[in-house]
C-alpha cells in the first residue's frame, strides 16, 4: 500500500478504517440536533434515525472488511488502531448489540415518559467507544475508548427523572445507581490507568505489541532498576490493570456495583449495559492480556505464577458467587445482574484455557450471550406498562396464558442462558469447556468441573422464571403488549440463539476468524511483502 503513511500523517485510507465509528459519532450528533427539531410526540423518530446510523455503520464495517480482506491484519494511526479479525468481529457484536438495544427501548421510554433523543445519541457514543475498545492496540486508544463508553453509560444509568406521578422511587433509584456506578467506575479507571503508567514506565511504550516484546526481558535476569525489582513492578502493573478490567466486566471480587446499577438503571439501559459494554470490556481485556501480557500468561518461574492462575481463580469465584447469589433474588433485573456476573466468569475460562478453542469459545460465548441476554431482557421490557414496573419475578406469572409466543421465546433464551443443547449458550459453553479440557492440565480439569456444576446452579434460578411463566397464577391486571420493534427484536434474538445452537458453523468460523491472528499484528510494511 504505497499511499499509506507517505505524507507522514493519517491518509484517507487510514481514516477509512475507522469510518464506522466516525459515522456513529456523526449520527449521534445529528440525533441531538434532530431531537430539538422534532415535536414532543414524535421524538421516537430519533430512534429510527439512530438505527439508520447503525445500519450505515454496519455497511461501512463490511466495506472496511471487504476492501482490506487481503491485507488483514494491519494497523493504522501509527499503530494505535488495528484492523484485524478480532476488531472486525467485536465491532460487529457492538453494533448488533446497540441496534437491538435501541429497537427495544422505544416503547419502554414512551411508557416511562422519557422519550428523548439524547438517549439514543448516548447509545451511539457509547457504541463508538466500544468499537474503539475492540480495535485499539494502544493503551491510550483503549483508555480513551473506555472512558467514552463508560461516561455515556453513566449518564444512561441515571436517565430516569424523579417522577412524582408514578413510582417515585424509580427516579431516585436510577440516580443512586448512576452515582454508585460512576464513583466505582471512576475509581477503577484510575486503578487501570495507574497500572498502565507502571507498564509504560517499565517498557517506555504504550503499544500492546511492543509491550509484549519488552515484558519478557524484565523477567529474564534479576533486573534491578534504580527503583527496585523490575519484576515486582511489572507484576504490580499487571495486577492493577487486571483489577481495573475485572471491575469493568464485573468479576468477583469487583462485582459489587453490578446488582445495584442493573437494578436501578432503566431496564432498556440494563439490557444494553449487560451486553454491549461488557463485550467491549472483554475485547479490551483480550487485547491487553492476550497480546500485551501474553508472554506472562504462564511464566517458567515456579515462584511467579502467570496471570492464567489469577484468571482461573477469579473465573471460578465469579461463576460460583454470581450463581449462588442469583438463586435467592426476587427482582428479575437483580437476578439477571448476578447471572451476568456468572456469565462473566464463564467467558474468563477461555482466557485461562489459553488455546484457540478457548479463545474462539470466549468470542462465541460473547456473541451468544449478547443475543440471548438481550432476548431475555426484551421480554422483561415488554412487561413494563403503565400499571406495572415489570422488574419483579412475579410479574412474569402467567405470561404463557397471556402471550404464549412471548413465553416460548423467553423459554428459549433462558434455556440458552442455562446452557441446554440446541441453543447458542450451549455451544458457547461447549467451546469453553473444550478449551479447558484440551489444555488438559489438572487444575484446568478441576476448573472445568467447577464450571460444569455451575451450569446446574444456574439452571435452578432460570427455572424460576420458567416456573413463573408457565405455572404461575395469572394476574388479570395488566395485559402484555408488544411494540413492533420490540417484537421484531425478540424474534430476531431467538432466531439467532437457535441458529447458533443448531447450526453454529458460521458463527464458529467467525469466532475463529476473530482469534486466529490474535497476536501481535504485523505492521503494514510486512504485510506488503
Amino acid at each position: 500500500m504505497p499511499l499509506l503513511n507517505i505524507l507522514g500523517y493519517p491518509t484517507i485510507y487510514e481514516t477509512f478504517a475507522i469510518l464506522p465509528e466516525l459515522l456513529l459519532v456523526l449520527f449521534g450528533c445529528a440525533a441531538l440536533v434532530l431531537d430539538v427539531l422534532l415535536p414532543r410526540e414524535r421524538k421516537e423518530l430519533t430512534a429510527y434515525f439512530c438505527l439508520a446510523g447503525i445500519g450505515t455503520a454496519l455497511l461501512a464495517l463490511w466495506q472496511v472488511f471487504e476492501t482490506n480482506r487481503i491485507r488483514l491484519p494491519f494497523t493504522v494511526f501509527y499503530g494505535m488502531i488495528a484492523v484485524d479479525g478480532f476488531s472486525l468481529t467485536l465491532r460487529l457484536v457492538a453494533l448488533v448489540a446497540a441496534a437491538l438495544a435501541i429497537a427495544m427501548a422505544v416503547k419502554y421510554l414512551d411508557v416511562e415518559e422519557e422519550q428523548h433523543g439524547e438517549y439514543y445519541a448516548l447509545i451511539l457514543f457509547a457504541t463508538s467507544g466500544m468499537m474503539f475498545l475492540s480495535s485499539g492496540v494502544d493503551f491510550i486508544t483503549l483508555y480513551v475508548g473506555l472512558e467514552l463508553m463508560a461516561l455515556s453509560v453513566y449518564v444512561l444509568v441515571g436517565y430516569l427523572k424523579w417522577n412524582v406521578q408514578f413510582h417515585e422511587k424509580r427516579g431516585e433509584k436510577s440516580s443512586e445507581a448512576a452515582l454508585k456506578y460512576f464513583l466505582m467506575g471512576a475509581f477503577s479507571s484510575a486503578i487501570l490507568l495507574f497500572g498502565f503508567s507502571i507498564i509504560f514506565g517499565l517498557t517506555g511504550t504504550t503499544n500492546v505489541e511492543q509491550v509484549a516484546g519488552l515484558l519478557p526481558g524484565l523477567f529474564k535476569a534479576n533486573m534491578l532498576t534504580t527503583t527496585g525489582d523490575a519484576r515486582l513492578m511489572a507484576i504490580m502493573g499487571i495486577a492493577l490493570v487486571a483489577a481495573g478490567l475485572f471491575f469493568k466486566i464485573a468479576a468477583v471480587p469487583f462485582h459489587m456495583w453490578a446488582p445495584d446499577a442493573y437494578e436501578g438503571a432503566p431496564t432498556s439501559v440494563t439490557a444494553f449495559m449487560s451486553v454491549g459494554p461488557k463485550a467491549a470490556s472483554y475485547a479490551m481485556l483480550a487485547r491487553i492480556f492476550l497480546v500485551a501480557f501474553a508472554p506472562l500468561r504462564v511464566t517458567g518461574d515456579p515462584q511467579i505464577p502467570g496471570w492464567a492462575v489469577m484468571f482461573g481463580v477469579v473465573a471460578a469465584l465469579t461463576m460460583t458467587v454470581g450463581n449462588v447469589a442469583a438463586v435467592t433474588q426476587q427482582n428479575a433485573k437483580r437476578l439477571m445482574a448476578y447471572s451476568s456476573i456468572s456469565h462473566a466468569g464463564f467467558i474468563l475460562l477461555g482466557f485461562v484455557a489459553g488455546n484457540e478453542m478457548g479463545y474462539a469459545g470466549a468470542v462465541f460465548y460473547l456473541m451468544a450471550y449478547t443475543v440471548m441476554n438481550l432476548g431475555a431482557f426484551g421480554v422483561l421490557l415488554s412487561l413494563r406498562s403503565e400499571e406495572r414496573v415489570g422488574d419483579k419475578l412475579d410479574d412474569l406469572n402467567g405470561l404463557y396464558q397471556k402471550q404464549p409466543a412471548l413465553a416460548l421465546m423467553m423459554l428459549v433464551c433462558l434455556l440458552s442462558l442455562a446452557g441446554i443443547p440446541g441453543t447458542g449458550g450451549f455451544m458457547g459453553k461447549f467451546y469453553l469447556f473444550g478449551g479447558l479440557i484440551q489444555a488438559g492440565n489438572k487444575w484446568m480439569n478441576i476448573l472445568a468441573v467447577v464450571a460444569a456444576l455451575n451450569v446446574v446452579i444456574s439452571l435452578y434460578y432460570y427455572a424460576r422464571f420458567i416456573k413463573a411463566m408457565f405455572t404461575g397464577k395469572e394476574k388479570e391486571e395488566a395485559p402484555v403488549t408488544l411494540s413492533p420493534p420490540l417484537h421484531a427484536t425478540i424474534v430476531l434474538t431467538v432466531i439467532l440463539v437457535l441458529v447458533m445452537g443448531l447450526y453454529p458453523q458460521p458463527f464458529s468460523q467467525l469466532s475463529r476468524f476473530a482469534v486466529e491472528r490474535l497476536g501481535p499484528p504485523t505492521p503494514p510494511q510486512a504485510a506488503q511483502k
Binding site: I420, F430, G434, I437, L453, V455, V456, L459, A463, T471
Partner: protein, 567 residues
C-alpha cells in the same frame, strides 16, 4: 493421506433407496406432529387434540415397524445408517443408525408413546394441547437418543429431552409437582454436564490413538463392524476425521460414536487399551455418573420416587419405560466399549456391583414399606434396575443379554403397572393401598390384568420377567456367585412386596364402601393394556425373536470388553 484402513473382503455397500432416511423419519415424525398440533389445531378442541395425537403416535409406529420389516438379520451392527455433515468445525455429524439393541428400545419407545397418549385422554383435563405437544417432543428426544450414532448428537437429544419432561411433571403433576420437576431436571443435569466433560476428554484423546496405532485400530474396527459394509464406511469416516484432527477442517477430533468405540476398545499386545488407565477411569466415571443418575442407582435414586409420584400417568410410564433405560443403554453403548480397561477394573466392578446390590435390596425393602401404590411401583423400579445393572456387570453374553431383556421387560411390566395404578387413580383419586381391598370382586377384569402384570414383574415362568431374570442371573452366576445370591434375594423380595400389594388391594371382601361402585376397564383402557399383556406372554413363552436382535450387539460388547471370553 492415510492408506485405506482395512483390506477386508467386504462387498461395497449396495444402495437401497428404501432405507434412506427411514430412521430420520422415525425420530423426527413426532416433532412434526408437535409442530402441526402447535400451529394448526385450536386449543379449545380438546377431543380433536386427543384423537390427533393418539393417531399421530400410531402413525409414528409405521416407520418403526418398517425398520423391523427391512431389518437384515444376518448383518452385524448398525443398520439404517445416515451420515451427513453438520458442524465440520468440531467434527460433529448428523449420524444415525440402530443395532439390534437400539432397535428393540426404539420399538418399545414407539409403542409406549401410543399408550402414553391413550392413557391421558381423561387424566389430562387442563391445557391439553400443550400436554400433547410436550409428549410428542419428548418422544423425539427419546428416539433420538437411541438412534444417534454421533456422540454430540446423542448429547443434544439426551439433554433436550429433559425440558419436555420437566414441563410434563411440573404442569400436570400432583401436589408437589414443581419440586419434583426441578429435582428431576437438576439431578439429571448434574450427570449430563459431567458426562459432557468426559465426552470432551474422549474427543481430544481419541485422535492420538487413531494416528499412533492404525493397525490395532483396524483390528478393533473389524471386530466391531464384522460383515457390515455400511457400518464400516461410517466408522471409517469417523476414524479419518480423528486422524486428520487439527487439519484444515478445524475439527480437533471425532464424535463418531462407533469410531470412538473402536478407538477405545483397540488394544495392544499387552491387552490394554491405548488411552491411559487413569484417564479411562476418569472418563468412565464421568459417563457413569450421568447414567447412574438416569438408571437410577443408589445413592442417586432419590429423584425417582418424587418424579414418579408427582408425574401424570403417561409421564410415569415414559419415565419408567424409556428414560430409565437410557441409563442402562448408556452403560452398554458408551462406558463398556469405550473404556474397556476401566470397565474391567476391579474397583469399578466392585463399586458398581455393590451399589447395584444396595439398590436391589434397599429399593425392594423400601417398596415393601410404601403406603402409596405409585410410590411402591417407583421404588420397585430402583430394585429392578439394580438387577439390570448387576447382570450387565457380569460382562458375559448371558449377563448382558439378560440385562437388555430386563430393560425391555421392565419397560413393559412397570409401564403396565403405572398404567394400572393410573386406571384406579382416575376412578378414586387416591392411590393409598389402605383405601382399597377386595377389588377382585368389583372389577374382575382389572384384577386379572393386574395379576398378570404382577406375575410378570416378579418373574414367574412363562411371563417375560422370568426370561430376563433367568438369563441375567445365569450370567451373574458365571461371573460372581455372591452377586447372584443378592440378585436372587432381590427377586424374592420383589415377589414379596408385589404379592402383598396384590393381596391387600384385591383379595378379601370389599372393606371400603366407596369401592363398591367402581366400573371395570373401559374399551380405551383395554386398548392400552392389552398390547403390553400380549408382549408379556410373547416374550415369556417365545423370546427368540427378541433375543435374535439383542444377541449380536451383546456379543460385540463382550468381545470389545473382554476379548478372552470367547477363546
Amino acid at each position: 493421506m492415510f492408506p485405506p484402513l482395512l483390506a477386508t473382503g467386504i462387498e461395497p455397500a449396495h444402495f437401497d433407496i428404501g432405507n434412506i432416511g427411514l430412521l430420520s423419519l422415525v425420530v423426527w415424525l413426532p416433532l412434526v406432529g408437535a409442530l402441526a398440533l402447535m400451529f394448526f389445531i385450536n386449543k379449545e378442541k380438546t377431543d380433536l387434540i386427543r384423537k390427533f395425537t393418539t393417531g399421530w403416535f400410531a402413525l409414528c409406529m409405521v416407520p418403526a415397524i418398517l425398520l423391523v420389516i427391512k431389518w437384515k438379520p444376518d448383518v452385524q451392527g448398525l443398520q439404517f445408517i445416515e451420515n451427513y455433515e453438520w458442524i465440520p468445525m468440531i467434527g460433529a455429524k448428523y449420524q444415525l443408525g440402530v443395532d439390534g439393541m437400539a432397535l428393540v428400545l426404539v420399538l418399545l419407545t414407539a409403542l409406549l408413546g401410543v399408550l402414553a397418549a391413550l392413557c391421558s385422554w381423561e387424566y389430562i383435563t387442563t391445557r391439553t394441547k400443550e400436554y400433547y405437544v410436550f409428549l410428542l417432543l419428548l418422544q423425539t428426544g427419546m428416539l433420538g437418543v437411541f438412534a444417534a450414532a454421533d456422540l454430540f448428537l446423542f448429547y443434544v437429544f439426551f439433554e433436550v429431552m429433559l425440558v419436555p419432561m420437566y414441563f410434563l411433571i411440573g404442569i400436570w403433576g400432583g401436589e408437589r409437582r414443581l419440586y419434583a420437576a426441578i429435582k428431576f431436571f437438576l439431578y439429571t443435569l448434574v450427570g449430563s454436564v459431567l458426562m459432557l466433560l468426559a465426552i470432551l476428554k474422549l474427543y481430544f484423546a481419541a485422535p492420538g490413538v487413531a494416528v499412533a496405532h492404525p493397525k490395532e485400530v483396524a483390528d478393533s474396527v473389524a471386530l466391531l463392524v464384522g460383515n457390515n459394509s455400511g457400518m464400516l464406511a461410517l466408522v471409517q469416516d469417523g476414524i479419518d476425521v480423528a486422524r486428520n484432527a487439527g487439519g484444515p477442517s478445524g475439527a480437533a477430533g471425532t464424535f463418531n460414536l462407533f469410531a470412538l468405540q473402536a478407538l477405545g476398545s483397540a488394544r495392544g499386545a499387552d491387552g490394554l487399551g491405548f488411552i491411559p488407565l487413569n484417564w479411562q477411569l476418569w472418563m468412565f466415571a464421568g459417563f457413569a455418573i450421568g447414567f447412574m443418575i438416569k438408571v437410577p442407582m443408589f445413592p442417586f435414586h432419590t429423584w425417582l420416587p418424587d418424579a414418579h409420584v408427582e408425574a401424570p400417568t403417561a409421564g410415569s410410564v415414559v419415565l419408567a419405560g424409556v428414560l430409565l433405560k437410557i441409563g442402562t443403554y448408556g452403560f452398554l453403548r458408551f462406558n463398556f466399549p469405550m473404556f474397556p480397561d476401566a470397565a474391567k477394573h476391579p474397583v469399578t466392578l466392585s463399586v458398581l456391583g455393590t451399589l447395584a446390590i444396595i439398590g436391589i435390596v434397599y429399593g425392594s425393602l423400601v417398596a415393601m414399606a410404601q403406603k402409596d401404590m405409585k410410590k411402591l411401583v417407583a421404588y420397585s423400579s430402583v430394585g429392578h434396575m439394580g438387577l439390570c445393572m448387576l447382570s450387565m456387570l457380569a460382562l458375559n453374553p448371558n449377563g448382558i443379554n439378560g440385562s437388555v431383556l430386563q430393560m425391555l421387560n421392565h419397560g413393559i411390566s412397570t409401564g403396565a403397572l403405572f398404567l394400572l395404578v393410573g386406571v384406579i387413580y382416575e376412578r378414586r383419586h387416591t392411590r393409598q393401598i389402605s383405601e382399597f381391598g377386595g377389588l377382585a370382586n368389583v372389577v374382575p377384569a382389572y384384577a386379572t390384568i393386574f395379576f398378570i402384570t404382577t406375575l410378570s414383574s416378579i418373574g414367574v415362568p412363562l411371563l417375560n420377567g422370568f426370561i430376563g431374570e433367568f438369563v441375567g442371573l445365569r450370567g451373574v452366576l458365571e461371573a460372581k456367585v455372591s452377586w447372584a445370591f443378592w440378585g436372587a434375594t432381590g427377586i424374592i423380595l420383589g415377589a414379596a412386596y408385589m404379592l402383598w400389594l396384590y393381596q391387600r388391594v384385591f383379595f378379601g371382601t370389599v372393606t371400603n364402601p366407596r369401592n363398591e361402585g367402581l366400573s371395570d376397564l373401559t374399551a380405551r383402557e383395554w386398548a392400552y393394556l392389552l398390547p403390553l399383556v400380549v408382549l408379556m406372554f410373547w416374550i415369556g413363552i417365545y423370546p427368540k425373536p427378541v433375543m435374535k436382535y439383542i444377541d449380536g450387539p451383546t456379543n460385540t460388547i463382550v468381545k470389545q470388553v473382554s476379548p478372552g471370553y470367547f477363546k
